[in-house]
């Protein structure tokens, strides 16, 4: 059962991916004719447009075009960015590490802090600190993440100018060592990561809290308490690990929501990741780039879901013995 189940999930993921490609193709090649969008000069001569169409294979039948498209995508030929004339994949490959850095650290921090706060709130359920934390989490959850980011800029980069408000590194600066470079990046990471953390904090807090509340009311906890174990120990050794399970899987699934948030966050901090690429592509109407980033986002989310399934599978003993 175990491998078949996993294989099933992988197959489903692959199928979803194929649908994404079909959707992409339909949207960008069929709905939006690339030549009208690619010919930046609106008064291009008809012969030029015709030759452009030919070079993009747009005069082939639809199925032929689709076959080309699939082939291209698999070999990572995602077209050429209209603005920079660089291959889309190159631009994406450069930007991806920065996004992963930001999202990775942000997610880890928000899981840790969210879980920690969730435990505190659950163990003090009903008190003022619980309501306070609840209120804080709901607030950051409902607030638009780019607004939170702008607020952080206002406070920490303008009012008390101790942190840089944009880019990943001080532009134009020459670094003597790898460490100095890393330190500069770290300085620039603080505010964006803080924003990502705030954005995700709320849901991890809420899940952890409710999960803890569940666990704390379960029988085995009562038993543990009855045997005289100090409360703290009970919480830390027994309640927390059990409550962590849904948290781990949810964090992988939430990647879909994170993607939306990271576009706006990278925009306000001029963070050179996928989100900023998307934002400039929106403004430049650089459709090859939009298509490429959309594909990457989709693949990322699908992969994260598969990962979540595997994690859930690995962590939850109940599933394994089913």
């Amino acid at each position: 059962m175990t491998f078949r189940w996993l294989a099933g999930k992988l197959a489903a993921a692959l199928l979803t991916l194929v649908f994404v490609l079909i959707f992409n193709f339909f949207l960008f090649r069929v709905m939006g004719d690339p030549t009208t969008q690619l010919a930046r000069l609106p008064r291009a001569a008809p012969e030029e447009i015709a030759s452009l169409r030919h070079s993009y294979g747009l005069d082939k039948p639809l199925l032929g075009q689709f076959a080309d498209y699939m082939g291209d995508t698999v070999t990572l030929d995602l077209g050429i960015s209209q603005r920079t004339r660089e291959p889309v994949w190159n631009e994406i490959a450069h930007a991806l590490p920065w996004t992963l850095l930001l999202v990775g650290i942000g997610t880890v921090l928000s899981v840790l802090i969210g879980a920690w706060l969730g435990v505190i709130a659950a163990t003090r359920r009903g008190t003022r600190s619980d309501s306070g934390l609840l209120g804080f989490s709901l607030f950051t959850y409902a607030a638009p993440e780019y607004w939170l980011g702008i607020l952080l800029i206002l406070v920490f980069a303008v009012a008390i100018p101790i942190l840089p408000a944009g880019q990943q590194v001080t532009p134009g600066k020459e670094f003597d060592s790898w460490l100095a470079h890393a330190a500069d990046v770290a300085e620039h990471l603080i505010l964006p990561v803080a924003t990502v953390t705030l954005m995700l904090l709320g849901q991890f807090f809420l899940i952890m809290r409710s999960s803890m509340v569940d666990v704390l009311t379960e029988d085995f906890i009562t038993v543990k308490r009855a045997t005289g174990l100090p409360w703290e120990r009970v919480v830390r050794r027994h309640a927390v690990p059990n409550a962590l399970l849904p948290l781990v899987t949810i964090s992988a699934i939430q990647l879909g929501a994170v993607v939306g948030g990271l576009i706006t966050i990278e925009t306000i901090f001029s963070w050179p990741g996928l989100g900023e690429l998307t934002y400039t592509a929106i403004n430049d109407k650089d459709f090859p780039m939009l298509e490429g980033t959309f594909l990457v986002y989709s693949v990322g989310v699908i992969a994260a879901n598969v990962l979540a399934d595997c994690l859930y599978f690995g962590l939850d003993p109940r599933v394994q013995t089913a």
Binding site: R40, T84, I162, L163, G166, P171, E187, V223, T227
Partner: protein, 598 residues
């Protein structure tokens, strides 16, 4: 566990120390310019952004450069030129012993390549060589241009960069107009040439050892990419850069108030205009528009009713210049304030319309017979300033009983309605719109051409057609004597002001800001005395006079480094404290008796 604390604090400290800013590059004098947009690829065959021009104008010279004083033609690659009596042959003599930045000699072959192969195949430079029938290069220092008809642009308006044929000639035109990316260093003839183009970060330009002219005081010019105009401004304030080449109009006044920052507001050859659809039956049988727009009295009344000063004040935050006709004041050699200037006069506007028989209806909007003075006003969403100008125009026109319905649309849609065709002929679908144009640095032909009949189907978006205007255009285009040419141009302007296909609202400014404590010898050039500091997009000459501050004191970096050290130390201490706290509690509970795990 105590060791862990010590480690944490130690790590934080080490980190903080390492983060201390690397000291300023010893000895090297760098001029740092910040911008929010960078060039596409620097390939002049296909690029069209102004950022490309900023770099190109420093990297390459023209046959005849633009004078920093009055933008007139001065020696560039060419030392001198002669116009034959029949005006159809122009002979250029190049300087002897000129070299490219890679040491190769600059010869007439380079000029021939640039004018014959580069310009016609490029996106933006083709029109300048239209009149050239053939090019002779009898010797390496002589270029003879044979023209189809006299064209004054050949002297002073030949805005085609002379490229090194030994570099560009090696590529096929197909690849050059495809995805070719120029190789670094960008071999050039200007005072500095590009040696590195790191996309998203920085463009480095180093001194050209073979530049024919005074040596620039800076060793390196850097163009540093920031996320947006806001970030550039902040960088200027913090001292990360010395020069901001495009200050946002909303921020301009505020930026100027900062200590050590000076701002520059200079005119440019670009303007923003309100355009009317004047296409006639013959040229556009299928055009769609409100006929009221084609009554010149209506247009003149609108011109009187629109307070261009107010538009400058509000829509452009007083940073632009009031428009006075088709040719901006920037064109010192050819500009003259038109007689018909339409000063703000609501009473006069109302008078004109009353006399012409347009009576106000119940809703306050004038009409005559079937024609109601209610027009669509299209404006592109990409420019908030244009949008505001449109709203102001609508607000002011209401007072004279003319209604403008502002329609914000994407630039694509605006292009569509102004260029669409039906049955092979132009069929524009608009009443009025607001947009802008940018002209060449010296030669007025580009802008004057916009209102010619032959531009219909090309760059004309007002579809104005006047044989007298067309005749004068051809005359001035072939008039090499600037004084005579100015006369002809004035006549053209007078006609265009009378017929008003365009109501030029404002002239766009060049808004720059720089650190007065880091830059010396800043002059207002192109044109003097109130041009901009770097003659951006025009010529690289100012880069030979701008210099680091005369006082030897190096400018200190403000902000940035030091507070961070404290922040990191603080965080380190915090981490250490938290660790110590939690670990101590752990130790305490470990002292308790072992529990039975159920």
């Amino acid at each position: 566990m105590r060791r862990l604390c010590a480690l944490a604090v130690g790590a934080a400290l080490a980190f903080a120390l390492a983060a201390a800013p690397a000291g300023a590059q010893e000895g090297k004098k760098v001029f740092r310019i910040g911008w929010g947009q960078e060039p596409q690829t620097l390939n002049p065959f296909i690029d069209e952004d102004e950022e490309d021009f900023v770099v190109w104008s420093i990297n390459w010279r023209l046959l005849a450069d633009f004078s920093t004083k009055d933008l007139g033609p001065v020696p560039g690659i060419a030392q001198s030129w002669q116009v034959a009596p029949d005006k159809k042959t122009v002979t250029f003599k190049l300087f002897a012993n000129q070299k490219w930045s890679d040491g190769q000699p600059i010869t007439s072959a380079d000029v021939k390549y640039s004018l014959e192969t580069f310009a016609p195949n490029s996106l933006l430079f083709g029109s300048y060589v239209d009149a050239i029938a053939s090019i002779d290069t009898p010797d390496p220092l002589t270029v003879v241009l044979h023209l189809k008809s006299p064209d004054a642009r050949i002297v002073g308006g030949l805005f085609v960069y002379i490229l090194p044929e030994h570099v560009w000639g090696k590529q096929s035109v197909k690849s050059l107009t495809g995805s070719y990316k120029p190789k670094m260093p960008l071999v050039g003839s200007g005072p500095y040439v590009v040696t590195q183009f790191q996309r998203g970060r920085i463009i480095r330009m180093e001194r050209n050892p073979y530049y024919r002219g005074p040596k620039g005081r800076f060793d390196e010019v850097q163009l540093i990419k920031y996320g947006n105009a806001d970030a550039v401004e902040r960088a200027l304030r913090l001292g990360e850069i010395d020069f901001d080449r495009e200050v946002d109009p909303s921020a301009f006044a505020r930026v100027g108030k900062q200590r050590n920052i000076k701002t520059i507001q200079a005119p440019s050859p670009s303007f923003t205009q309100l355009a009317f659809n004047l296409c006639n039956e013959r040229n556009c049988p299928d055009a769609k528009f409100n006929p009221g727009v084609q009554d010149s009295v209506v247009r003149q009344a609108i011109a009187y009713a629109v307070d261009r000063n107010r538009i400058n004040q509000i829509a452009n935050r007083s940073t632009s210049f009031v428009g006075h006709g088709l040719l901006p004041q920037f064109y010192k050699s050819f500009y003259a304030k038109p007689a018909d200037d339409y000063p703000y006069d609501v009473a006069k506007a109302n008078q004109l319309l009353d006399a012409a028989g347009y009576a106000r209806g119940g809703d306050g909007i004038r009409a005559k017979g079937d024609t109601k003075l209610s027009f669509d006003l299209a404006v592109r969403t990409e420019s908030p300033f244009n949008i505001q100008a449109a709203r102001l125009v609508a607000e002011m026109a209401k007072r004279i009983g003319v209604e403008f319905k502002v329609q914000i649309m994407s630039v694509d849609k605006l292009t569509e309605i102004t260029t669409q065709k039906k049955r092979g002929k132009m069929a524009p679908d608009f009443d009025t719109f607001i947009w802008g144009w940018g002209g060449d640095p010296y030669d007025p032909s580009l802008l004057l051409n916009l209102l010619t009949t032959k531009a219909i189907g090309g760059s004309s978006d007002s579809f104005y057609s006047n044989p007298e205007y067309d005749r004068l255009y051809e005359e001035q285009a072939s008039e090499f004597d600037p004084a005579k040419r100015k006369q002809l141009v004035s006549q053209m302007i007078a006609i265009s002001q009378r017929d008003l296909p365009y109501l030029v609202l404002t002239v766009d400014p060049v808004l720059q800001a720089y650190r007065s404590d880091r830059l010396a010898n800043v002059q207002r050039l192109c044109p003097a005395p109130n041009g901009d500091a770097i003659c951006e997009q025009v010529t690289g000459a100012p880069f030979t006079t701008l210099s680091p501050p005369l006082a030897a004191a190096a400018a200190k970096d403000e902000g940035g480094g030091s507070p961070l050290v404290f922040v990191l130390i603080g965080i380190g201490v915090l981490i250490a404290a938290v660790l110590a706290f939690t670990l101590r509690r752990r130790r305490k509970s470990a002292d308790e008796p072992v529990e039975l795990e159920v």
